[in-house]
């Protein structure tokens, strides 16, 4: 009813080349955050090894969440953008990118 020229059912099949291009470009941008999470994980592992402890549950939860946040937000952005136009998908990915920063900083602050 709202989308006149658009197909009724929209999903990943209607992404098209442009849609997937957007998704891949943003995948690289989000991957930047993911590397940060991996680097953090390696750093924490090295630190724990040097201290000789195995760390407690809180630390592991934080480290793993820090690592997983970009993946989760990317997946969410992809899902939300599924039914939208391409330009709107870009908006969703941009907002998601900022949200990754928000969540990462929040986790780092805990």
């Amino acid at each position: 009813m709202s989308a006149e020229a658009l197909p009724q059912k929209r999903g990943f099949r209607t992404f098209g080349g442009a849609g997937w291009t957007v998704a891949v470009v943003f995948a690289f941008l989000y991957a930047y955050h993911l590397w940060g999470g991996i680097a953090n994980l390696i750093g924490v592992l090295a630190l724990l090894n040097s201290v000789g402890s195995s760390g407690d549950a809180v630390i592991w939860t934080l480290v793993i969440s820090y690592l997983v946040v970009p993946i989760v937000v990317y997946a969410a952005a992809l899902l939300v953008g599924r039914t939208l136009r391409n330009g709107e998908r870009i908006v969703v990915f941009v907002v998601g990118f900022a949200v990754v920063s928000v969540l990462s900083l929040s986790l780092a602050a805990v």
Binding site: S2, A3, G36, L84, E88, V91, V92, V94, V95, F97, A98, V99, V100, S101, V102, L103, S104, L105, S106, A108, A109, V110
Partner: protein, 167 residues
Amino acid sequence: MSDRRDDDEALGWAGDDDPTLSPVGVPETSGGSTAPDEAPAAAGAKSVLDEAEDAEDRAVEQELADAEAASAQLSSVALIGLGILGGIYLLYTIGWVISFTRYEVASELSLGVFTELISRTLAVAASPLWFVATLLLTQRRGLRYRFLWLVIGVLVLVPWPFLIGGK
């Protein structure tokens, strides 16, 4: 035809038809016994025309109401809700800005500092971005979607670094 009488009353003063007020020389017959018989007849004759006009007016009014509904003025409750949520987003943004200013930039700029600054700038931008993006993207959807996404944003974007008091 009480309407007509009401209309007439609106145009006159109480006691206008007091016979003592009738000017000299005006025949009294017009207000006499013939009037009650004539008035309904005249009203009936007019009412066909009036009815047509009224119907036309109602149609126009209906059209206008439909057009107004289509241009979707927000109800006052929705407007207040949006205002409150907008205020929360504004507070969040301020919280993130404060947390940004708490970050002490190291004297020598390294890549780590640079990326940290980018990350914190993005965090400041996140709340307004979410708010504006939600308003833009939910335009074609219902009001319910708009509020749902705004509430999700309120839950996601809490400025923890500011609330906890760390950097």
